[in-house]
């Protein structure tokens, strides 16, 4: 198991290198291939009517006059030794690990992501707990009584949850529970350790809204998995052996049905930790997702590269955790 994890971690590093190279290429090489000159790249960092000297100075300062592979090497080097930029009388430092420096807002990408990560993690983790509990429970109950009123109602609600876009349910939740009936007063994110109650109160609406979307998916997934599992021979055998129904359903049925759910959960969590773009926008949460959207709107490439790497990191790590969990959930799986 240990060597498996080490091997996966090494492959994760290689994968992240590839992701960073591809992302770097997309942002820094493709514009060149599309005919954009380095002068034009530099011009977006200067205001109106730049002079030739202004453009040359920006190109030199940001390293845009170097070949792309050299720029990429400088980026990788910066992660381990940091980078100094000249943006005034003193050097602007991008400290180790320098995952980029925004030439537009003059912030270091990594500290900015670090400051936003608690928001995104709180949002994703809280919502995941909600959707996992509600989705799986609903799916199991529906599977136990397929075709019943509860099953139809639950699946109908699930269908609505899947169909309704986040920007609609989020805005509706805000309109109803913040403005019409001010049960959850709108406030900025409060760190968990600062005030756990306020932390939870600020996040309840985003959690519920996000969980509504995802629990619908999980309910349908669980129901389908359970229906399939409950028709297996070993379930019939378990029942024939006289095991209690609860044990049959939870230990034998649900355990087997959980494997695909864990797979999807790993992917979903990985994606959300890389930024819950729409939810953070709707609820004005200053998380990684909002940072990504803002950076895309502002065409702030170092920020976009940083968030992309983070999202890739979380997806890789979550998948690794999922693979390890397979072995714990499904006795047939052995990690070698």
């Amino acid at each position: 198991m240990f060597s498996y994890i080490i091997r996966r971690l090494i492959s994760a590093v290689i994968l992240l290198l590839i992701v960073s190279a591809v992302t770097f290429g997309i942002f820094f090489l493709l514009p060149k291939l599309a005919g954009q000159s380095t002068d034009q790249l530099a011009q977006q960092y200067i205001g109106k009517a730049p002079t030739t000297a202004d453009i040359a100075a920006v190109k030199k300062n940001l390293g845009l006059d170097k070949p792309v592979y050299e720029q990429y090497w400088e980026f990788l080097k910066g992660i381990f030794v940091g980078v100094d930029y000249k943006f005034g009388p003193d050097a602007a430092k991008c400290h180790v690990p320098c995952f980029g420096y925004s030439f537009k807002t003059h912030i270091e990408v990594w500290p900015e992501i670090q400051s936003r990560l608690p928001v995104t993690v709180s949002l994703a983790a809280g919502a995941a707990v909600l959707w996992l509990v509600s989705g799986v429970a609903t799916g199991v109950l529906s599977a136990l009584r397929p075709g019943s009123f509860f099953d139809r109602l639950a699946m109908g609600v699930a269908l609505a949850g899947v169909s309704l876009p986040m920007f609609f349910t989020g805005a509706l939740a805000l309109a109803l529970f913040t403005y019409q009936w001010p049960i959850f007063e709108r406030s900025d994110y409060v760190p968990l350790l600062q005030d756990p109650f306020l932390w939870a109160r600020t996040l309840v609406l985003p959690w519920v809204t996000l969980a509504f979307l995802y629990s619908a998916l999980y309910a349908r997934l669980t129901r389908a998995g359970m229906l399939e599992t409950l028709s297996e021979d070993y379930i019939r055998t378990a029942r024939a052996k006289g095991l209690r129904e609860r044990k049959v359903v939870l230990r034998h049925g649900l355990r087997a049905a959980l494997t695909p759910i864990i797979t999807v959960l790993g992917m979903d969590l990985g994606l959300l930790l890389g930024g819950a773009l729409i939810t953070e926008q709707v609820f004005s949460l200053k998380g990684v997702g909002a940072f990504a959207v803002d950076s895309i709107n502002a065409n702030d490439l170092p920020n976009i590269l940083g968030v992309t790497l983070l999202a890739a990191f979380f997806i890789v790590i979550c998948n690794l955790v999922v693979d390890v969990l397979y072995a714990a959930v499904d006795p047939r799986v052995r990690l070698t």
Binding site: K48, A53, G88, N297
Partner: protein, 582 residues
């Protein structure tokens, strides 16, 4: 007379009493003000101190550095912590365009026929750390903001353009370590600053109202990072700044009302929340969580519908003109629009009523016929290309006549718009529909605002190689005079190879000369007449199709005091003295 908006006239009558109370600057407050009250009077005038004034914004400015910004709302807001030599007196509508000395003790004294301008700094003005402001600090502020554009690139560079050249070219304070620095600005003593210009510039007092003249102590300058810790000379100072999240200002203990007749320092604290969804801001304004929408671009479409259908809510709105024109620039360097007859055909062919509807209706702007907006001095009402309608249908007789003279037949062209401005895309789509009727097949290409001028519409080479004949545009004045409005969009000398805002690429020697002679003229009336003449010349050239005089619909928080919507800052509320009701 320049205000041609009937609803504003009604508001003027109904709030005449408020005007009197508001101008007294104390006492009475009235939260039951009528719609548009803040465009004609001070709403909720009060000198009550204390509390927190909360601003919100759906985006975040790239910089709060007074020397590194070009946004009207940052110009407006930065005056809370940075005092330029002159600034605008808080006043409703066009009354807000009146200049007053701020850091300077009086307006500039011109000499040498308007080529030299001298200002004296008020005695006793201090930074937040208690050190005294000197004229050298103002000189340094201009140097860094105009001559180090590879580092501070976001602001305008008027000073660089108009100050006398130095031999060898001054390279800005970060590279030039000479003792004297820029020679065309002299500081003979710590209180006096003298600007030497290349040519007479009668409106220099407007130019120094830019926050670029707010003093910066050289020892505290951190270049592009100065935005994080601006050293205040205003009534408030930075307490906490989190990029893209929040800015908190608190009272500046070293600010003194004795040196500042304009600021009142009313609230204890000012909080600006950044990156808040526009719909949330609109809701928060109504609930009282937020007092001011910092960007001042008005409520979103959904809120607009809600506000206009509820008379009670509508009474708390201000539908202000913003010294802006929404227009389509016709590229005079791309066929067939290099032919003035073809351009005239387009002037007649674009259905402005349809475009107005696409832009959100009359609440978002009256139909325009001039380059100068109605609230800029020099505006004269006229229409060179009057449009006739039978019912809802535009009469295309004149358009077809000019198109026949142009002789282009059926042509294809490209129209540019910003894809993150849906109203602009809708307007462009409407323009395409209009032009099709006379044989112009336009296809839309849309790009994000962040690259619109740097990579696309503002790059003449791109326009030429992509057959871009029409460009959607919205333009506001850099300062509220005809020159401040027209210079960047009509002067042939303003055409640049990127970041260009003269999108028509109009380079008419007569217009260029008129602009040059107008700005040198010390007679205000003569200047305004010249601006009206330039406007007409540009319309004769049919380089611009004026679409609407932009208007903004803002929700006025009943909890905020001293609210005036000022023309000086695109119809935004004047942020200098907003307080909070207790």
């Amino acid at each position: 007379m320049r205000r041609s908006v009937p609803v504003a006239a009604v508001a003027a009558l109904t709030s005449a009493g408020l005007l009197l109370a508001g101008c007294s600057g104390k006492g009475s407050s009235d939260s039951s003000a009528e719609a548009n009250a803040a465009t004609t009077s001070v709403v909720n005038a009060s000198d009550a101190k204390g509390g927190t004034v909360t601003y919100a914004m759906s985006d975040a400015p790239e910089s709060f550095d007074p020397g590194n910004t070009y946004y009207a709302f940052v110009y407006n807001f930065s005056r809370l912590y940075a005092r330029p030599l002159t600034t605008f007196k808080p006043g409703p509508g066009t009354k807000g365009e009146e200049l007053a000395p701020d850091l300077a003790e009086s307006m500039g004294k011109p000499s040498d026929g308007g080529k030299t301008w001298t200002y004296k700094i008020r005695k006793g003005v201090k930074y937040e750390d208690g050190t005294t402001v000197t004229s050298q600090d103002v000189k340094y502020a201009v140097e860094r903001s105009n001559f180090a554009r590879d580092i501070l690139s976001l602001g305008p560079n008027y000073f660089q353009q108009f100050l006398q050249d130095n031999d060898g070219g001054y390279k800005g304070p970060y590279k030039d370590k000479s003792k004297d620095g820029l020679k065309s600005i002299e500081t003979p003593d710590p209180q006096t600053i003298v600007f030497h210009l290349k040519q007479p510039f009668a409106e220099f007092d407007y130019l120094v109202s830019a926050p670029q003249t707010a003093p910066v102590p050289q020892a505290k300058d951190k270049g592009a990072d100065y935005t994080k810790s601006v050293v205040s000379t205003g009534s408030y100072k930075f307490e906490n700044y989190q990029e893209g999240k929040q800015l908190t200002l608190v009272r500046n203990p070293n600010w003194s009302a004795r040196t500042d007749p304009l600021r009142k320092q009313l609230p204890d604290k000012i909080v600006l929340n950044l990156k808040v969804a526009q719909s949330t801001i609109d809701k928060d304004l109504q609930s009282g969580n937020t007092l001011v929408d910092m960007a001042g671009r008005g409520v979103d479409g959904q809120t607009q519908a809600q506000l206009l259908t509820d008379p009670k809510l509508k009474a708390s709105t201000d539908n202000a003109l913003g010294q802006r024109l929404v227009y389509t620039a016709l590229n005079t360097k791309v066929a067939p629009f290099d032919n003035v007859e073809c351009r005239k055909a387009v002037e007649y062919a674009i259905d402005k009523k349809a475009v107005q509807t696409a832009l959100g209706g009359p609440i978002r702007g009256e139909i325009a016929s001039t380059v100068l907006p109605t609230d800029i001095a020099g505006y004269q009402k006229y229409d060179l290309y009057p449009q006739k309608y039978s019912g809802d249908n535009l009469d295309l007789t004149e358009a077809k006549k000019h198109w026949a003279k142009c002789g282009a037949g059926n042509v294809s062209t490209t129209i540019l718009a910003r894809n993150d401005r849906q109203d602009e895309v809708d307007a462009a789509t409407s323009v395409i529909g209009s032009l099709k009727k006379i044989g112009i097949n336009a296809k839309i290409q849309s790009y994000p605002t962040s690259k619109y001028f740097s990579d696309y519409a503002g790059v003449p080479a791109f326009n030429k190689s992509n057959n871009v004949g029409l460009i959607m545009m919205q333009w506001g004045a850099d300062f509220p005079t005809g020159y401040g409005y027209l210079q960047q969009i009509l002067n042939g000398k303003a055409i640049s190879q990127s970041g260009n805002s003269n999108l028509s690429e109009l380079d008419d020697p007569e217009i260029n000369n008129l602009l040059n002679s107008a700005i040198a003229n010390t007679d205000k009336g003569a200047r305004e007449k010249a601006y009206a003449d330039i406007d007409k010349k540009a319309m004769e050239q049919a380089a611009i199709v004026p679409l609407t005089y932009f208007k903004v619909l803002m929700y006025r928080s009943p909890k905020a005091t001293n609210l005036v919507s000022t023309s000086a800052f695109s119809g935004e509320y004047d942020y200098l003295n907003i307080g909070v009701k207790k």
